[in-house]
Amino acid sequence: MRYEAPRTLESAVALMAGEKGSAQILAGGTDLLVRMKSGFAEPDLVVDIKRIDGMHAITAEKGGWRIGAAVPGAALGEHAGVKADWPGVVEALELIGSTQVQGRATMAGNMCNASPAADSVPAMVAADAVARVVGPNGTRDVAVGDIATGPGKTSLTNGEIVESIFLPARPKHSGDAYLRFIPRTEMDIAVVGVGVSLTLDASGTCTAARVSLGAVAPTVLLDQKAAATLIGTKVDDAALAKLAAACSAACKPIDDKRGTIEFRTKVAGVLVRRAATIALQRAKG
């Protein structure tokens, strides 16, 4: 294995594109090093992107926020601006692993690891976040929900690197939230994860909503049917019950060591109700 820590994005792309064997990006490393330890990943080249200028930056852009691919959870959690605008996204990232993992783990890495149970991804999908991807053929912007194509698989092509993630301007009277279910209070992988982002009009009626589900399908689901149950409502108990039923209906989970189909399906409904309630409170400010 070779280790490279290029100073520019261009050289990182060139390294990745030029590698004949397997190449891996190293951002926080909290997934990659675990896979290397267990022998699941045996890369020939590891490209550390943390020495590239701008990768650690959190920048205001068009009323939203651009977050560098190497920004760890701990740094994002210390950023008052992002936290005020997208508390659900920040909390989702902060839920990943321990304080120690937070010192390293990044949103971009969480997304590119392409686990269906990734905590920050449903929150980003609900927030309509966009990843900026740089590759040998230039730069493209991709919806976060379109990066993962299956467990451990992404739509990134050879040599492509995620440079940043853009969280759009938060509309007025809107709020977001992410909740997950884990057996303990910390340190577990999500059994179910739910992201909700909603916008109200001046009278408190929901005018827009995005609902996403993690760990209940091969990739994170954007559940527009469920979101539709909220539109035009005051997000009251009746709407929440419909939302819960819609989410449970959208789940296509598996039985595994972390949970059963039955459990995931039911709890997705419970959590979405609770997450929507938090998002509603935030939207009401």
Partner: protein, 158 residues
């Protein structure tokens, strides 16, 4: 395979080492630098026994490559006491009997120090969540939390 030359600062001392590209910082500390205070309980970031700080951030040294330490400042449990003078956390851990076997203790002390630097007045719940990535199988955490809270109290008063 070619080894990588790394220049770094460990516990305030500038130093250099060679390491394999895929060698973790924990392996470097333990096997190359003789700093065996950081322990490998899992090697996958689940137990926190290898906790160190890098440029002031608390991390698991098993989840970082040694090569990444170039130009960084690493602090380990070995850098916590000042000569014969223990850090208040170390003293409080002894006074409260906050360790039984002691294997998790270095990692918990490093993590607790990082907590108190960021938040000198944590609630019990904040301390418990901050330390959730440091497994202790002996104590049930009770005396650890008491020691951390007592050290925080003393440090605020000093």
């Amino acid at each position: 395979m070619t080894q990588i030359h790394v220049s770094t600062t460990i516990n305030g001392d500038a130093g250099e080492f060679l390491c394999e590209p895929d060698e973790t910082l924990l392996d470097v500390l333990r096997d190359r630098l003789g700093l065996t205070g950081a322990k490998e309980g899992c090697g996958t970031g689940d137990c926190g026994a290898c906790s160190v700080t890098v440029d002031g951030r608390l991390i698991c040294s098993c989840l970082m490559l040694g090569a990444e330490a170039d130009g960084r400042e690493v602090t380990t449990i070995e850098g916590m006491a000042n000569g014969e003078t223990l850090h208040p956390l170390q003293r409080k851990f002894l006074e409260h009997a906050a360790l039984q076997c002691g294997i998790c203790t270095p990692g918990i002390l490093v993590a607790a120090k990082a907590l108190l630097e960021k938040n000198p007045n944590p609630t019990e719940t904040e301390a418990r969540y901050w330390l959730a990535g440091n497994l202790c199988r002996c104590t049930g955490y009770d005396k650890i939390i008491r020691a951390v809270m007592d050290a925080a109290h003393e440090m605020r008063g000093a």
